[in-house]
Amino acid sequence: MLDYDFMRTAFAAGAIVAIVAGTVGVFLVLRNLSFAGHALSHVGFAGATGAALVGMSPLWGLVAFSLLGAAAMGLLGEKLRGRDVAVGIILSLALGCGVLFLHLYTAYASQATALLFGNVLGVGGATLRVLLALAIVSLAALAAIARPLIFATLEPELAEAKGVRLRLVSALFLAIVAIAVAEAAQVVGVLLVFALMVGPPAAALGLTTRLGHAVALSALLGLVETWAGIALAYVTDWPTSFWIVLLSCLVYFASLAARRIIALGSEGAAFP
Protein backbone atom coordinates (compact mmCIF):
# COMPACT_ATOMS: atom_id res chain seq x y z
CA MET A 1 0.00 0.00 0.00
CA LEU A 2 2.88 2.33 0.77
CA ASP A 3 4.51 1.52 -2.57
CA TYR A 4 2.20 3.99 -4.23
CA ASP A 5 3.19 7.62 -4.20
CA PHE A 6 -0.39 8.84 -3.82
CA MET A 7 -0.84 6.61 -0.76
CA ARG A 8 2.27 7.97 0.93
CA THR A 9 1.08 11.52 0.17
CA ALA A 10 -2.39 10.66 1.51
CA PHE A 11 -0.95 9.34 4.79
CA ALA A 12 1.25 12.43 5.13
CA ALA A 13 -1.62 14.83 4.37
CA GLY A 14 -3.92 12.90 6.71
CA ALA A 15 -1.36 13.14 9.52
CA ILE A 16 -0.86 16.90 9.11
CA VAL A 17 -4.57 17.61 8.98
CA ALA A 18 -5.50 15.27 11.84
CA ILE A 19 -2.95 16.84 14.18
CA VAL A 20 -4.01 20.41 13.38
CA ALA A 21 -7.74 19.62 13.57
CA GLY A 22 -7.36 17.57 16.77
CA THR A 23 -5.32 20.27 18.50
CA VAL A 24 -7.42 23.27 17.46
CA GLY A 25 -10.61 21.26 17.98
CA VAL A 26 -10.01 20.88 21.73
CA PHE A 27 -10.36 24.64 22.15
CA LEU A 28 -13.28 24.72 19.71
CA VAL A 29 -15.14 22.20 21.89
CA LEU A 30 -14.11 23.90 25.15
CA ARG A 31 -15.46 27.21 23.84
CA ASN A 32 -18.72 25.63 22.64
CA LEU A 33 -17.98 26.75 19.10
CA SER A 34 -18.47 23.41 17.31
CA PHE A 35 -21.32 24.84 15.29
CA ALA A 36 -19.26 27.90 14.31
CA GLY A 37 -16.58 25.55 12.97
CA HIS A 38 -19.23 23.76 10.92
CA ALA A 39 -20.53 27.09 9.59
CA LEU A 40 -17.03 28.24 8.61
CA SER A 41 -16.55 25.12 6.49
CA HIS A 42 -19.73 25.91 4.54
CA VAL A 43 -18.62 29.48 3.94
CA GLY A 44 -15.33 27.98 2.79
CA PHE A 45 -17.19 25.80 0.29
CA ALA A 46 -18.54 28.91 -1.45
CA GLY A 47 -14.98 30.23 -1.50
CA ALA A 48 -13.56 27.05 -2.95
CA THR A 49 -16.11 26.79 -5.77
CA GLY A 50 -15.89 30.52 -6.41
CA ALA A 51 -12.11 30.24 -6.72
CA ALA A 52 -12.46 27.34 -9.15
CA LEU A 53 -14.88 29.46 -11.19
CA VAL A 54 -12.35 32.25 -11.65
CA GLY A 55 -9.53 29.79 -12.30
CA MET A 56 -7.85 29.89 -8.90
CA SER A 57 -6.91 27.08 -6.55
CA PRO A 58 -9.96 25.88 -4.56
CA LEU A 59 -7.79 25.41 -1.46
CA TRP A 60 -6.89 29.10 -1.36
CA GLY A 61 -10.52 30.05 -2.00
CA LEU A 62 -11.47 27.82 0.91
CA VAL A 63 -8.85 29.39 3.18
CA ALA A 64 -9.74 32.95 2.14
CA PHE A 65 -13.50 32.57 2.62
CA SER A 66 -13.17 30.69 5.92
CA LEU A 67 -10.93 33.50 7.17
CA LEU A 68 -13.46 36.11 6.00
CA GLY A 69 -16.23 34.19 7.75
CA ALA A 70 -14.09 34.02 10.88
CA ALA A 71 -13.47 37.77 10.74
CA ALA A 72 -17.22 38.42 10.43
CA MET A 73 -17.90 36.14 13.39
CA GLY A 74 -15.14 37.87 15.35
CA LEU A 75 -16.66 41.28 14.63
CA LEU A 76 -20.11 40.15 15.70
CA GLY A 77 -18.53 38.50 18.76
CA GLU A 78 -20.89 37.95 21.67
CA LYS A 79 -23.89 38.90 19.53
CA LEU A 80 -23.63 35.49 17.88
CA ARG A 81 -24.14 33.60 21.12
CA GLY A 82 -27.40 31.69 20.90
CA ARG A 83 -27.97 32.83 17.30
CA ASP A 84 -27.74 29.37 15.80
CA VAL A 85 -30.68 30.06 13.53
CA ALA A 86 -29.04 33.13 11.98
CA VAL A 87 -25.71 31.31 11.59
CA GLY A 88 -27.52 28.32 10.07
CA ILE A 89 -29.33 30.48 7.52
CA ILE A 90 -26.08 32.23 6.52
CA LEU A 91 -24.31 28.90 6.13
CA SER A 92 -27.05 27.49 3.93
CA LEU A 93 -26.79 30.65 1.81
CA ALA A 94 -23.05 30.03 1.51
CA LEU A 95 -23.66 26.42 0.52
CA GLY A 96 -26.27 27.58 -2.00
CA CYS A 97 -23.81 30.06 -3.53
CA GLY A 98 -21.33 27.20 -3.77
CA VAL A 99 -23.89 25.17 -5.75
CA LEU A 100 -24.43 28.13 -8.09
CA PHE A 101 -20.69 28.55 -8.68
CA LEU A 102 -20.43 24.82 -9.41
CA HIS A 103 -23.32 25.08 -11.87
CA LEU A 104 -21.62 27.95 -13.71
CA TYR A 105 -18.30 26.09 -13.66
CA THR A 106 -19.29 22.89 -15.37
CA ALA A 107 -15.78 21.80 -16.28
CA TYR A 108 -15.67 18.92 -13.89
CA ALA A 109 -18.31 17.58 -11.58
CA SER A 110 -16.02 15.47 -9.42
CA GLN A 111 -14.85 18.78 -7.96
CA ALA A 112 -18.12 19.08 -6.05
CA THR A 113 -17.86 15.65 -4.45
CA ALA A 114 -14.22 16.24 -3.57
CA LEU A 115 -15.02 19.54 -1.86
CA LEU A 116 -18.11 18.31 -0.06
CA PHE A 117 -16.86 14.90 1.05
CA GLY A 118 -13.10 15.14 0.72
CA ASN A 119 -10.59 13.36 -1.46
CA VAL A 120 -7.41 12.72 0.47
CA LEU A 121 -6.21 10.20 -2.12
CA GLY A 122 -6.17 13.01 -4.68
CA VAL A 123 -3.84 15.29 -2.71
CA GLY A 124 -0.77 16.15 -4.79
CA GLY A 125 2.74 17.10 -3.76
CA ALA A 126 2.09 20.84 -4.15
CA THR A 127 -1.07 20.70 -2.02
CA LEU A 128 0.80 18.68 0.59
CA ARG A 129 3.39 21.45 0.94
CA VAL A 130 0.62 24.06 1.29
CA LEU A 131 -1.09 21.91 3.94
CA LEU A 132 2.18 21.65 5.87
CA ALA A 133 2.80 25.40 5.68
CA LEU A 134 -0.75 26.19 6.84
CA ALA A 135 -0.40 23.65 9.65
CA ILE A 136 2.80 25.29 10.89
CA VAL A 137 1.22 28.76 10.74
CA SER A 138 -1.95 27.74 12.58
CA LEU A 139 -0.17 25.71 15.28
CA ALA A 140 2.39 28.48 15.84
CA ALA A 141 -0.44 31.01 16.16
CA LEU A 142 -2.28 28.71 18.55
CA ALA A 143 0.85 28.33 20.68
CA ALA A 144 1.19 32.11 20.78
CA ILE A 145 -2.35 32.69 22.09
CA ALA A 146 -2.84 29.45 24.07
CA ARG A 147 -2.39 30.97 27.50
CA PRO A 148 -4.89 33.86 27.29
CA LEU A 149 -7.18 31.65 25.17
CA ILE A 150 -7.46 29.04 27.93
CA PHE A 151 -7.91 31.73 30.59
CA ALA A 152 -10.59 33.53 28.55
CA THR A 153 -12.34 30.24 27.80
CA LEU A 154 -12.52 29.02 31.40
CA GLU A 155 -12.96 32.35 33.20
CA PRO A 156 -13.98 35.14 30.80
CA GLU A 157 -14.94 37.66 33.51
CA LEU A 158 -11.77 37.19 35.51
CA ALA A 159 -9.64 37.18 32.36
CA GLU A 160 -11.09 40.51 31.29
CA ALA A 161 -10.38 42.01 34.69
CA LYS A 162 -6.80 40.73 34.50
CA GLY A 163 -6.27 42.52 31.20
CA VAL A 164 -6.97 39.82 28.59
CA ARG A 165 -8.46 41.41 25.45
CA LEU A 166 -11.33 38.99 24.98
CA ARG A 167 -12.39 40.22 21.53
CA LEU A 168 -8.84 40.06 20.17
CA VAL A 169 -8.17 36.59 21.54
CA SER A 170 -11.52 35.35 20.23
CA ALA A 171 -10.94 36.82 16.75
CA LEU A 172 -7.42 35.36 16.53
CA PHE A 173 -8.73 31.97 17.59
CA LEU A 174 -11.49 32.04 14.94
CA ALA A 175 -8.84 32.78 12.30
CA ILE A 176 -6.92 29.71 13.48
CA VAL A 177 -10.14 27.67 13.33
CA ALA A 178 -10.71 28.90 9.76
CA ILE A 179 -7.31 27.54 8.69
CA ALA A 180 -7.88 24.25 10.52
CA VAL A 181 -11.30 23.89 8.87
CA ALA A 182 -9.80 24.51 5.42
CA GLU A 183 -7.21 21.82 6.20
CA ALA A 184 -9.74 19.32 7.50
CA ALA A 185 -11.91 19.85 4.42
CA GLN A 186 -9.04 18.57 2.25
CA VAL A 187 -9.34 15.16 3.92
CA VAL A 188 -13.00 14.71 4.86
CA GLY A 189 -14.69 17.52 2.89
CA VAL A 190 -16.56 20.58 4.12
CA LEU A 191 -19.64 18.62 5.18
CA LEU A 192 -17.68 16.25 7.43
CA VAL A 193 -15.14 18.51 9.19
CA PHE A 194 -16.94 17.63 12.45
CA ALA A 195 -15.40 14.17 12.17
CA LEU A 196 -11.90 15.58 12.67
CA MET A 197 -12.50 18.89 14.46
CA VAL A 198 -15.07 17.79 17.03
CA GLY A 199 -15.06 13.98 17.28
CA PRO A 200 -11.50 13.38 18.55
CA PRO A 201 -11.43 16.48 20.84
CA ALA A 202 -14.78 15.61 22.41
CA ALA A 203 -13.63 12.02 23.01
CA ALA A 204 -10.29 13.19 24.46
CA LEU A 205 -11.92 15.75 26.78
CA GLY A 206 -14.14 13.01 28.14
CA LEU A 207 -11.26 10.64 28.80
CA THR A 208 -8.74 12.82 30.64
CA THR A 209 -8.97 15.54 33.26
CA ARG A 210 -5.72 17.23 32.23
CA LEU A 211 -5.89 19.86 29.52
CA GLY A 212 -2.43 19.10 28.13
CA HIS A 213 -3.22 15.39 27.94
CA ALA A 214 -6.52 16.16 26.20
CA VAL A 215 -4.72 18.10 23.45
CA ALA A 216 -2.18 15.31 22.90
CA LEU A 217 -4.82 12.57 23.03
CA SER A 218 -7.11 14.43 20.64
CA ALA A 219 -4.34 14.83 18.06
CA LEU A 220 -3.41 11.15 18.50
CA LEU A 221 -7.01 9.93 18.15
CA GLY A 222 -7.45 12.07 15.03
CA LEU A 223 -4.23 10.67 13.58
CA VAL A 224 -5.18 7.04 14.26
CA GLU A 225 -8.71 7.51 12.89
CA THR A 226 -7.42 9.19 9.72
CA TRP A 227 -4.67 6.66 9.02
CA ALA A 228 -6.93 3.72 9.75
CA GLY A 229 -9.60 5.30 7.55
CA ILE A 230 -7.18 5.67 4.63
CA ALA A 231 -5.97 2.08 5.07
CA LEU A 232 -9.52 0.72 5.24
CA ALA A 233 -10.47 2.70 2.14
CA TYR A 234 -7.49 1.17 0.32
CA VAL A 235 -8.54 -2.35 1.32
CA THR A 236 -12.29 -2.00 0.77
CA ASP A 237 -12.37 0.60 -2.00
CA TRP A 238 -15.07 2.46 -0.04
CA PRO A 239 -14.63 6.24 0.43
CA THR A 240 -11.96 7.35 2.92
CA SER A 241 -14.31 9.94 4.41
CA PHE A 242 -16.84 7.26 5.27
CA TRP A 243 -14.26 5.26 7.22
CA ILE A 244 -12.87 8.31 9.03
CA VAL A 245 -16.35 9.50 10.00
CA LEU A 246 -17.33 6.01 11.14
CA LEU A 247 -14.18 5.63 13.26
CA SER A 248 -14.60 9.14 14.71
CA CYS A 249 -18.16 8.24 15.68
CA LEU A 250 -17.17 4.86 17.18
CA VAL A 251 -14.29 6.39 19.17
CA TYR A 252 -16.57 9.12 20.50
CA PHE A 253 -19.21 6.67 21.71
CA ALA A 254 -16.53 4.37 23.08
CA SER A 255 -15.19 7.35 25.05
CA LEU A 256 -18.65 7.93 26.54
CA ALA A 257 -18.76 4.30 27.66
CA ALA A 258 -15.20 4.47 29.00
CA ARG A 259 -16.07 7.66 30.85
CA ARG A 260 -18.90 5.90 32.63
CA ILE A 261 -16.57 3.06 33.61
CA ILE A 262 -13.96 5.58 34.87
CA ALA A 263 -16.66 7.35 36.90
CA LEU A 264 -17.74 4.06 38.49
CA GLY A 265 -14.11 3.20 39.23
CA SER A 266 -13.37 6.55 40.90
CA GLU A 267 -16.52 6.28 43.00
CA GLY A 268 -15.27 2.93 44.22
CA ALA A 269 -11.90 4.50 45.03
CA ALA A 270 -13.54 7.37 46.91
CA PHE A 271 -15.19 4.99 49.37
CA PRO A 272 -12.66 2.24 49.96
Binding site: L30, N32, A143, A144, I145, A146, R147, P148, I150, F151, A152, L154, E155, P156, E157, L158, A159, E160, A161, K162, G163, V164, L205, G206, T208, T209, R210, L211, G212, A214, R259, A263
Partner: protein, 282 residues
Protein backbone atom coordinates in the same frame (compact mmCIF):
# COMPACT_ATOMS: atom_id res chain seq x y z
CA UNK B 1 -11.26 61.60 59.11
CA UNK B 2 -12.46 61.19 55.53
CA UNK B 3 -10.57 64.25 54.40
CA UNK B 4 -7.37 63.02 56.04
CA UNK B 5 -7.69 59.59 54.48
CA UNK B 6 -8.36 61.08 51.07
CA UNK B 7 -5.27 63.19 51.56
CA UNK B 8 -3.29 60.03 52.24
CA UNK B 9 -4.71 58.40 49.16
CA UNK B 10 -3.51 61.31 47.05
CA UNK B 11 0.01 61.08 48.46
CA UNK B 12 0.43 57.82 46.49
CA UNK B 13 2.23 54.62 47.36
CA UNK B 14 5.50 56.44 48.11
CA UNK B 15 3.81 58.72 50.63
CA UNK B 16 4.82 58.68 54.26
CA UNK B 17 1.58 57.03 55.33
CA UNK B 18 0.27 53.86 53.65
CA UNK B 19 -2.51 54.68 51.19
CA UNK B 20 -5.96 53.34 52.01
CA UNK B 21 -6.95 50.19 50.19
CA UNK B 22 -9.86 52.06 48.66
CA UNK B 23 -10.69 55.73 48.58
CA UNK B 24 -13.95 56.90 47.02
CA UNK B 25 -14.17 60.65 46.72
CA UNK B 26 -17.45 61.96 45.34
CA UNK B 27 -17.50 58.83 43.20
CA UNK B 28 -20.31 58.52 40.66
CA UNK B 29 -20.73 55.45 38.48
CA UNK B 30 -23.02 55.02 35.50
CA UNK B 31 -23.81 51.96 33.47
CA UNK B 32 -25.60 52.09 30.11
CA UNK B 33 -26.38 55.74 30.71
CA UNK B 34 -28.04 55.02 34.05
CA UNK B 35 -26.49 56.47 37.18
CA UNK B 36 -25.86 53.61 39.59
CA UNK B 37 -23.87 55.43 42.25
CA UNK B 38 -23.91 59.17 42.74
CA UNK B 39 -21.27 61.01 44.75
CA UNK B 40 -20.16 58.39 47.24
CA UNK B 41 -17.43 59.08 49.79
CA UNK B 42 -15.77 56.17 51.56
CA UNK B 43 -12.33 55.20 52.79
CA UNK B 44 -11.40 51.60 53.48
CA UNK B 45 -8.16 50.84 55.30
CA UNK B 46 -5.81 48.00 54.36
CA UNK B 47 -6.74 44.77 56.13
CA UNK B 48 -10.42 45.58 56.60
CA UNK B 49 -13.14 43.01 55.88
CA UNK B 50 -16.05 44.93 54.36
CA UNK B 51 -19.44 43.34 53.77
CA UNK B 52 -21.21 45.02 50.84
CA UNK B 53 -24.98 44.88 50.81
CA UNK B 54 -27.95 46.48 49.14
CA UNK B 55 -30.92 45.60 46.99
CA UNK B 56 -30.44 44.12 43.50
CA UNK B 57 -29.25 46.80 41.09
CA UNK B 58 -27.86 48.96 43.90
CA UNK B 59 -24.43 48.92 42.29
CA UNK B 60 -22.45 46.26 44.16
CA UNK B 61 -21.10 44.62 41.00
CA UNK B 62 -20.72 48.00 39.28
CA UNK B 63 -18.53 49.23 42.15
CA UNK B 64 -16.35 46.11 41.91
CA UNK B 65 -16.04 46.57 38.15
CA UNK B 66 -14.92 50.16 38.72
CA UNK B 67 -12.31 49.01 41.26
CA UNK B 68 -11.03 46.52 38.67
CA UNK B 69 -10.75 49.24 36.06
CA UNK B 70 -13.48 47.74 33.87
CA UNK B 71 -15.62 50.86 34.26
CA UNK B 72 -14.51 54.49 34.50
CA UNK B 73 -16.03 56.81 37.10
CA UNK B 74 -18.64 59.15 35.68
CA UNK B 75 -17.51 61.75 38.22
CA UNK B 76 -15.36 62.01 41.32
CA UNK B 77 -12.37 59.81 41.96
CA UNK B 78 -11.61 56.26 42.96
CA UNK B 79 -8.18 55.18 44.19
CA UNK B 80 -6.99 51.62 44.82
CA UNK B 81 -3.97 51.71 47.13
CA UNK B 82 -3.53 55.29 46.05
CA UNK B 83 -3.53 54.54 42.33
CA UNK B 84 -6.08 54.97 39.57
CA UNK B 85 -7.83 51.61 38.95
CA UNK B 86 -6.59 49.75 35.90
CA UNK B 87 -7.29 46.40 34.32
CA UNK B 88 -4.71 43.76 35.15
CA UNK B 89 -3.92 45.25 38.57
CA UNK B 90 -1.99 42.52 40.39
CA UNK B 91 -3.08 43.97 43.75
CA UNK B 92 -6.70 43.02 43.13
CA UNK B 93 -7.99 39.43 43.28
CA UNK B 94 -11.46 38.85 41.91
CA UNK B 95 -14.19 36.25 42.19
CA UNK B 96 -16.80 37.13 39.54
CA UNK B 97 -20.50 36.81 40.17
CA UNK B 98 -21.13 35.40 36.73
CA UNK B 99 -20.35 31.73 37.06
CA UNK B 100 -17.78 30.52 34.58
CA UNK B 101 -19.16 28.24 31.86
CA UNK B 102 -17.15 25.18 32.86
CA UNK B 103 -19.50 23.26 35.14
CA UNK B 104 -19.89 20.26 32.85
CA UNK B 105 -16.21 19.81 32.00
CA UNK B 106 -14.08 16.86 33.06
CA UNK B 107 -11.12 19.22 33.46
CA UNK B 108 -9.44 18.73 36.85
CA UNK B 109 -9.61 21.41 39.53
CA UNK B 110 -5.89 22.07 39.45
CA UNK B 111 -5.77 22.85 35.71
CA UNK B 112 -8.77 25.11 36.20
CA UNK B 113 -7.05 27.08 38.95
CA UNK B 114 -3.75 27.13 37.03
CA UNK B 115 -5.41 28.66 33.95
CA UNK B 116 -5.68 31.91 35.90
CA UNK B 117 -1.98 32.07 36.78
CA UNK B 118 -0.69 34.99 34.70
CA UNK B 119 -3.30 33.94 32.14
CA UNK B 120 -3.11 37.38 30.55
CA UNK B 121 0.35 36.70 29.10
CA UNK B 122 0.82 35.52 25.53
CA UNK B 123 2.39 32.19 24.69
CA UNK B 124 2.08 28.65 25.94
CA UNK B 125 0.43 28.04 29.33
CA UNK B 126 3.61 26.79 31.00
CA UNK B 127 3.65 27.47 34.73
CA UNK B 128 7.30 27.03 35.60
CA UNK B 129 8.47 26.09 39.06
CA UNK B 130 7.38 29.37 40.67
CA UNK B 131 3.98 29.10 39.01
CA UNK B 132 3.45 25.53 40.20
CA UNK B 133 4.40 26.58 43.73
CA UNK B 134 1.97 29.50 43.60
CA UNK B 135 -0.89 27.31 42.32
CA UNK B 136 -0.13 24.74 45.06
CA UNK B 137 -0.11 27.53 47.65
CA UNK B 138 -3.46 28.95 46.48
CA UNK B 139 -5.07 25.50 46.48
CA UNK B 140 -3.69 24.73 49.95
CA UNK B 141 -4.83 28.12 51.27
CA UNK B 142 -8.44 27.39 50.34
CA UNK B 143 -8.07 23.78 51.61
CA UNK B 144 -8.87 22.36 48.20
CA UNK B 145 -6.02 19.83 47.90
CA UNK B 146 -8.55 17.00 47.65
CA UNK B 147 -10.35 18.79 44.80
CA UNK B 148 -7.27 19.40 42.66
CA UNK B 149 -7.37 16.03 40.89
CA UNK B 150 -11.14 15.78 40.60
CA UNK B 151 -13.06 16.79 37.47
CA UNK B 152 -15.07 20.01 37.68
CA UNK B 153 -18.28 18.26 36.62
CA UNK B 154 -18.23 16.19 39.81
CA UNK B 155 -17.76 19.11 42.23
CA UNK B 156 -20.52 20.72 44.26
CA UNK B 157 -21.22 24.44 44.10
CA UNK B 158 -19.33 25.02 47.34
CA UNK B 159 -16.31 23.06 46.14
CA UNK B 160 -16.21 24.96 42.88
CA UNK B 161 -16.46 28.19 44.85
CA UNK B 162 -13.29 27.25 46.74
CA UNK B 163 -11.43 26.76 43.45
CA UNK B 164 -12.64 30.16 42.27
CA UNK B 165 -11.35 31.62 45.51
CA UNK B 166 -7.98 29.94 44.86
CA UNK B 167 -7.90 31.61 41.45
CA UNK B 168 -8.62 34.96 43.05
CA UNK B 169 -5.66 34.44 45.42
CA UNK B 170 -3.14 33.79 42.62
CA UNK B 171 -0.66 36.63 42.44
CA UNK B 172 -1.06 37.21 46.20
CA UNK B 173 -3.36 40.24 45.90
CA UNK B 174 -3.68 42.83 48.69
CA UNK B 175 -7.35 43.34 47.91
CA UNK B 176 -9.90 40.56 47.41
CA UNK B 177 -13.12 41.42 45.58
CA UNK B 178 -15.71 38.68 46.06
CA UNK B 179 -18.93 39.23 44.12
CA UNK B 180 -21.81 37.23 45.62
CA UNK B 181 -19.76 34.15 46.52
CA UNK B 182 -22.66 32.75 48.58
CA UNK B 183 -25.32 32.80 45.89
CA UNK B 184 -26.88 29.40 45.19
CA UNK B 185 -24.93 27.64 47.95
CA UNK B 186 -26.49 25.48 50.64
CA UNK B 187 -26.50 27.14 54.09
CA UNK B 188 -23.70 25.03 55.53
CA UNK B 189 -21.51 25.74 52.48
CA UNK B 190 -22.31 29.44 52.91
CA UNK B 191 -20.96 29.35 56.47
CA UNK B 192 -17.91 27.39 55.32
CA UNK B 193 -17.08 29.94 52.60
CA UNK B 194 -17.45 32.86 55.02
CA UNK B 195 -15.26 31.15 57.61
CA UNK B 196 -12.66 30.33 54.96
CA UNK B 197 -12.53 33.89 53.61
CA UNK B 198 -12.36 35.25 57.17
CA UNK B 199 -9.42 33.00 58.01
CA UNK B 200 -7.57 33.89 54.79
CA UNK B 201 -8.19 37.58 55.39
CA UNK B 202 -6.74 37.40 58.92
CA UNK B 203 -3.77 35.22 57.99
CA UNK B 204 -2.76 37.21 54.92
CA UNK B 205 -3.81 40.58 56.32
CA UNK B 206 -5.56 41.49 53.07
CA UNK B 207 -8.51 43.76 52.42
CA UNK B 208 -11.77 42.03 51.50
CA UNK B 209 -14.88 43.36 49.80
CA UNK B 210 -17.55 40.67 50.11
CA UNK B 211 -20.95 41.28 48.51
CA UNK B 212 -23.90 39.29 49.79
CA UNK B 213 -27.62 39.45 50.36
CA UNK B 214 -27.82 38.11 53.90
CA UNK B 215 -25.88 40.29 56.31
CA UNK B 216 -26.30 37.77 59.13
CA UNK B 217 -23.91 35.31 57.47
CA UNK B 218 -21.10 37.87 57.78
CA UNK B 219 -21.80 39.04 61.34
CA UNK B 220 -18.74 38.46 63.46
CA UNK B 221 -16.50 38.08 60.39
CA UNK B 222 -16.72 41.49 58.76
CA UNK B 223 -15.26 44.64 60.27
CA UNK B 224 -17.62 47.13 58.66
CA UNK B 225 -20.67 47.33 56.43
CA UNK B 226 -20.96 49.16 53.11
CA UNK B 227 -24.65 49.43 52.31
CA UNK B 228 -25.68 50.68 48.87
CA UNK B 229 -29.07 51.85 47.71
CA UNK B 230 -30.63 54.43 45.39
CA UNK B 231 -27.23 55.72 44.30
CA UNK B 232 -26.16 56.38 47.88
CA UNK B 233 -23.94 54.51 50.29
CA UNK B 234 -23.44 54.15 54.02
CA UNK B 235 -20.18 52.86 55.45
CA UNK B 236 -19.74 52.05 59.11
CA UNK B 237 -20.05 49.47 61.84
CA UNK B 238 -23.08 47.19 61.88
CA UNK B 239 -24.56 49.31 64.69
CA UNK B 240 -24.05 52.53 62.74
CA UNK B 241 -25.43 51.37 59.41
CA UNK B 242 -28.14 48.90 60.31
CA UNK B 243 -30.58 51.44 61.65
CA UNK B 244 -34.06 52.31 60.53
CA UNK B 245 -32.92 55.83 59.73
CA UNK B 246 -29.99 54.91 57.47
CA UNK B 247 -31.73 52.08 55.63
CA UNK B 248 -34.94 54.05 55.08
CA UNK B 249 -32.78 56.63 53.30
CA UNK B 250 -31.06 53.94 51.17
CA UNK B 251 -34.25 52.08 50.26
CA UNK B 252 -36.35 55.21 49.83
CA UNK B 253 -39.13 53.78 51.94
CA UNK B 254 -39.78 53.21 55.63
CA UNK B 255 -37.59 50.38 56.84
CA UNK B 256 -37.52 48.73 60.26
CA UNK B 257 -34.47 46.90 61.55
CA UNK B 258 -35.33 44.09 63.93
CA UNK B 259 -32.85 42.25 66.11
CA UNK B 260 -33.93 38.73 66.89
CA UNK B 261 -31.69 36.28 68.78
CA UNK B 262 -28.54 37.86 67.39
CA UNK B 263 -29.95 38.03 63.86
CA UNK B 264 -30.71 41.27 62.09
CA UNK B 265 -33.85 41.42 59.99
CA UNK B 266 -34.51 44.25 57.56
CA UNK B 267 -38.24 44.72 57.18
CA UNK B 268 -40.38 47.08 55.13
CA UNK B 269 -44.13 47.48 55.07
CA UNK B 270 -44.16 44.91 52.23
CA UNK B 271 -42.33 42.23 54.19
CA UNK B 272 -38.78 41.15 54.89
CA UNK B 273 -36.44 42.86 52.45
CA UNK B 274 -33.70 40.23 52.58
CA UNK B 275 -36.10 37.33 52.11
CA UNK B 276 -37.22 39.04 48.94
CA UNK B 277 -33.67 39.11 47.66
CA UNK B 278 -33.18 35.43 48.43
CA UNK B 279 -36.27 34.42 46.56
CA UNK B 280 -34.88 36.35 43.62
CA UNK B 281 -31.72 34.23 43.61
CA UNK B 282 -33.36 30.87 44.05
Amino acid sequence: MDALATQRARSGPRGEVAAPALALDGLALARDGRTVLGSVNAVIAPGEFIGVFGPNGAGKTTLIHAILGLLRPAAGSLRVFGAVPRRGNRDAGYLPQQRSPVGDLRLCGRDFVASAFRGERWGLPLLGRAGRREVDWAIATVEAEALAARPLCELSGGERQRLLLAQALLGKPRLLLLDEPLVSLDPHFQHAVVALVGRIQRELGITVLFTAHDLNLLLGTMDRVLYLGRGQAALGSVEEVMTSEVLSRLYGMPIEVLRLKGRILVVSAQGEVEAEAHRHDA
